[in-house]
C-alpha cells in the first residue's frame, strides 16, 4: 500500500507537559485508521500538528513521500489534508455554501458555481446538505456533514475526524459510517480520533494507539479485539505509592438515587445514577470525559436541575436526613457539602482571577458577617494559614490569583474548601496540568480529609491515581453508572473496559459485604 502521510519522531510540548514524544505514525491511501487513546494521550495534539494548528517542536512530516512543513490549516489544505474538529468552525449566520467557500482565494467568487460543486460532492458520497440552509438552522449532524463537505470541497484526500460520533445519535453515527466507507471507496484516507472501542472495531482497517503522549503500536483491526486494545490503551499498572489508609468506620453521608439530568439541549446526560458515599473514604469517579462527571457533581452541589424522581439524601453528622434536590447551592454548602470543582480552566469556577488569595477566601464567607460592611480580618488570617500550610508560592496574599501558577491556584481552591471543614468534599480534575510534586500534595490533602472522616468524591482521569488513591470507584459510561468497583482489587484494564463498554449494573462491593 502507498503512504498518504508519514509522521516521524513528532514531539510537541506545552510548557512542562509533553503532549507528544517521538510519535511515529503512517497513514496509507484508501484506509480508515483509528487513532485510539485515553483522554490526554495526545491524539488530538498529534492530528492538530498534521492539520497545521500546532507546529511540532521536532520531527518530520511526509505527504505522498515528500517532506513538508505545515504551519497553518491553509497549508495543510494545500497538501490535501483536512481536519474536522470537535468544535465546528462554522459561521452561524452564513449559509452552507458561504461557509464552504470562506477563505478560498484561488478560484472565482461565484456562489452559483460553488453550489453546483457542493451538490456534485453530495451526490457522489451520499451527503444530505442544502447549500442555501443557514448554519443556525442545522442540527449537529448536519453541521458535521457540512464540515466534511467543506474539507472535500477544498480537495482533501486525508480527512481527520476528531471524535466525530461524540455528538451523534446512533442512527446519525451509522449514516456517518456509511459516508466514511464511501469516501474510502473513493480512495481517500480517513483518520478517526476516538476512544470508543466498539466503533473502532466496526469502522477501522487499522488502529494506532497512543498513551500519555507516546506511540504504543498499531494493529490491523481484524487481528485484534476490544480487550487487547484496552490493554494497549491503558497500559500496565504503574505503582505511584500514594498514601492510602483503610477507611475507619465509614458513615453514610450521601445517598444518590435514580439521579437523571438533562442538559440545556434536552439531551439526557445522566441516567438513573444510584450510589452511596461514605464519610472516611474516597469515592472515585472514572469515565471518559463528558460522560456525566461534571453534571453529577453539579447536581449534588445544587447547580444542575435534576429530573423528577431523582433523589439525593444527605445524612448529617447529627443524625438528621435531608433531601438536597431543590435546595439552593448556598443552602447545600451550609450543610457542609462542598464542591471544589476544578474545570479545564482553573479560574473558570470557584476563584476570581483578578482578586487576591484573601479576597477569594472571603467569597465563601462574606455572607456570614453582619451589617453592610465586610470583615476582612478572618479571611486574611485564613489566607495566611492556607499559604503557609499548603506552601502556596505567592508574593503576597493580595496578589491576583491569576498570576499564580496552576498548582498554586489549585492549592488555594482546595485549601479554601478544606478550611470550611466540610463533611462532603467534591473535587474534579484536581491535578490536571500539575507537576508530580504538587499532585502528591493534593493527594495527601485529600487523604488527610478522608482520615478526618470527610466523604471525599474524586473525579479523575488518570486510572493509576484513581486505583491507588480511592477506596471505591464508580465507573460511568455514557451517563450511566456501569459499575462500582473496589479500588484495592480492581485492575486498570477492567476499569478501562467498563469506561468504554456498558456491561450492565454491577453490584457495590461494600453493600454486598454489609
Amino acid at each position: 500500500m502507498e503512504y498518504a502521510v508519514q509522521m516521524k519522531n513528532i514531539s510537541k510540548s506545552f510548557g512542562s507537559i509533553n503532549a507528544n514524544s517521538n510519535v511515529n505514525i503512517d497513514i496509507y491511501k484508501g484506509e480508515i485508521l483509528a487513532l485510539l487513546g485515553e483522554n490526554g494521550s495526545g491524539k488530538t495534539t498529534l492530528m492538530n500538528i498534521l492539520s497545521g494548528i500546532y507546529y511540532p517542536d521536532s520531527g518530520q512530516i511526509f505527504v505522498s513521500g515528500k517532506e513538508v512543513s505545515i504551519s497553518s490549516p491553509k497549508e495543510a489544505f494545500n497538501h490535501h489534508i483536512g481536519m474536522i474538529h470537535q468544535h465546528f468552525k462554522l459561521v452561524d449566520v452564513f449559509s452552507a455554501v458561504e461557509n464552504t467557500v470562506l477563505g478560498i482565494e484561488d478560484e472565482k467568487f461565484d456562489l452559483k458555481a460553488a453550489t453546483k460543486r457542493i451538490e456534485d460532492i453530495c451526490g457522489r458520497y451520499g451527503f444530505e446538505v442544502n447549500p442555501q440552509q443557514k448554519v443556525y438552522d442545522m442540527s449537529v449532524s448536519q453541521k458535521q456533514t457540512l464540515e466534511i463537505v467543506k474539507a472535500l470541497y477544498r480537495g482533501a484526500d486525508v480527512l481527520i475526524l476528531d471524535e466525530p460520533t461524540a455528538v451523534l445519535t446512533p442512527q446519525e453515527t451509522q449514516r456517518l459510517f456509511n459516508v466514511i466507507r464511501s469516501m474510502k471507496a473513493d480512495g481517500k484516507s480517513i483518520v478517526i480520533i476516538t476512544h470508543k472501542l466498539n466503533e473502532v472495531m466496526e469502522i477501522s482497517d487499522r488502529v494506532a494507539v497512543l498513551r500519555k503522549g507516546h506511540y504504543i503500536g498499531e494493529v490491523e483491526t481484524k487481528d485484534t479485539d476490544p480487550q487487547k486494545l484496552t490493554d494497549m490503551m491503558v497500559g500496565r499498572a504503574v505503582s505511584l505509592n500514594i498514601r492510602r489508609t483503610d477507611p475507619v468506620n465509614p458513615v453514610k453521608r450521601l445517598e444518590v438515587n435514580n439521579l437523571s439530568v438533562r442538559n440545556s439541549e434536552g439531551v439526557q446526560v445522566l441516567k438513573n445514577i444510584s450510589f452511596t458515599a461514605y464519610g472516611g473514604e474516597i469515592l472515585g469517579i472514572a469515565g471518559i470525559s463528558g460522560c456525566g462527571q461534571k453534571e453529577l457533581l453539579e447536581s449534588i452541589a445544587g447547580l444542575q436541575k435534576a429530573e423528577s424522581g431523582s433523589s439525593i439524601k444527605y445524612y448529617a453528622p447529627d443524625g438528621s436526613v435531608n433531601e438536597m434536590i431543590g435546595l439552593k447551592p448556598a443552602e447545600i454548602m451550609d450543610m457542609g457539602v462542598h464542591l471544589s470543582f476544578v474545570p479545564e480552566d482553573r479560574l473558570g469556577m470557584g476563584l476570581v482571577g483578578s482578586m487576591g488569595m484573601s479576597d477569594n477566601m472571603m467569597l465563601k464567607s462574606y455572607r456570614n458577617s453582619p451589617g453592610p460592611f465586610t470583615d476582612r480580618s478572618p479571611s486574611k488570617k485564613l489566607a495566611e494559614t492556607v499559604k503557609e500550610e499548603l506552601e502556596v508560592m505567592t508574593p503576597s496574599i493580595n496578589t491576583p490569583v491569576r498570576k499564580l501558577s496552576g498548582g498554586n491556584v489549585q492549592k488555594v481552591l482546595v485549601g479554601r474548601e478544606i478550611s470550611a471543614v466540610p463533611t462532603v468534599l467534591m473535587t474534579a480534575y484536581a491535578v490536571r496540568g500539575l507537576d508530580i510534586n504538587t499532585s502528591y500534595t493534593i493527594y495527601n490533602l485529600l487523604a488527610e480529609q478522608k482520615e478526618q472522616g470527610v466523604a471525599v468524591i474524586y473525579v479523575g482521569e488518570d486510572l493509576d491515581v484513581l486505583i491507588e488513591l480511592c477506596d471505591r470507584i464508580i465507573v460511568l459510561c455514557g451517563g450511566e453508572l456501569n459499575d462500582v468497583v473496589d479500588a484495592r482489587t480492581v485492575s486498570k484494564e477492567e476499569i478501562g473496559y467498563k469506561m468504554t463498554y456498558l456491561t450492565g449494573r454491577g453490584s457495590d462491593p461494600r453493600e454486598d459485604k454489609q
Binding site: 506545552f14 490549516p73 468552525k89 452561524d92 449566520v93 470562506l102 477563505g103
Partner: protein
Amino acid sequence: MTQILSLIQSAIIFGTVIMFGALGEILTEKSGNLNLGVPGIMSLGAIGSLMGAFWYEQSAAAPVPVLCLLVSFAAAMLFSLAGGLIYSFITITLRANQNVTGLTLTIFGCGFANFFGGSLNKLAGGVGQISLPITSKAYRAVIPFLSNIPIIKNIGWLVYAGIILAFVLQRWMFKSRAGLNLRAVGENPATADAAGINVIKYKYFSTCAGAMISGLGGLFYIMDYIKGTWASDGGIEALGWLAVALVIFATWRPRSAIWGSYLFGLLSWMYYYIGGLTRSTSELFKTLPYVVTIAVLIFVSLRRKKENLGPSALGLSYFREER
C-alpha cells in the same frame, strides 16, 4: 406645502450627516469592532476639512473650487484616518477594551476639534466669523438636471454620493469575497482565522476605512449643514451618537441606513415645523430618533432573527487560541 418641502429638505441634509457616520460605523462593526468613537471621529473629520479649507482659502490669492474640494477632503480624511488608526492600534494590536477606547476617542476628538475650532475663530476675527464661501459653495453644488425637481432642488452632490456609497458598500459586503471574509471576521474570528483569513488585516482595514467614511459626515456637517463655519456647540457630537443609533436601526445594512437616516432627520426636525411647542416640549420631540431606535431594538430582539442582531463577535477582542 412649502413647510413640508422644507422639512423634507432639512431631513435629507441632516440625515446625510448621520448617514455617513453610520455607514462608516457599519463597516467598522462588521469586523467585530464596536467603535464608540464615531462622534469624535466625525469631529476630527469636521475640523480637518475646516482647517484645510481655511488654510487654502486664506493663502491662495484666487482659490480654485476644485482645489478647495481636494484640500479640505484630503485634510478631513487624514484627520479621521488618524482617529481610526489610534482606535485600531489600541483595540486590535493591544487588545484593550473597545468601549473604553471608543468613548475616550470621542472625548478626545470633540475636545481636539473644539480647541482648534476656537483657534480658527480667533484667527478669523471672532466667534462665528469663519467663512469658507468658495469651499462650502463647491460642496453644495447641485446636480444640473436634478435641481429642476422642486423637492430636491437645493440638495448638493454629496448627498447623492452618500446614497451611491451606501449601495456600493451593501454590494461589497454581501456579494463579494472580501465582504464575505469581513463578515466572517466579525461573526466568528476563530473560524475566519482557521479558514486562512487575515483577521488583523481585515479589522484594521475596515476600522480605518470606516473611520474615514464617518469623517465624511463631519465634513458634510461643516460644509453643507452649517455652510462653512464653526460652532463649538457640541452639535457634531450629538449627531455622532445618532449615527451610532442609526447603525442598530438599520440592522447593520448600509442600504437601510439611507431611509433610516432620512427618517431620523424627519423626526429630529419635526419639532421645528409643529406649531405651539415650547422650548421644553420641543426637547421631548428631539428624543424621537432614540425612542424609535429602542423600539427597533425591542422588535428585532423579539423576532430573534440572527442576521438582524449584529455581528456575534461585536465588541470582543480576538485572541488566537493558544494552549
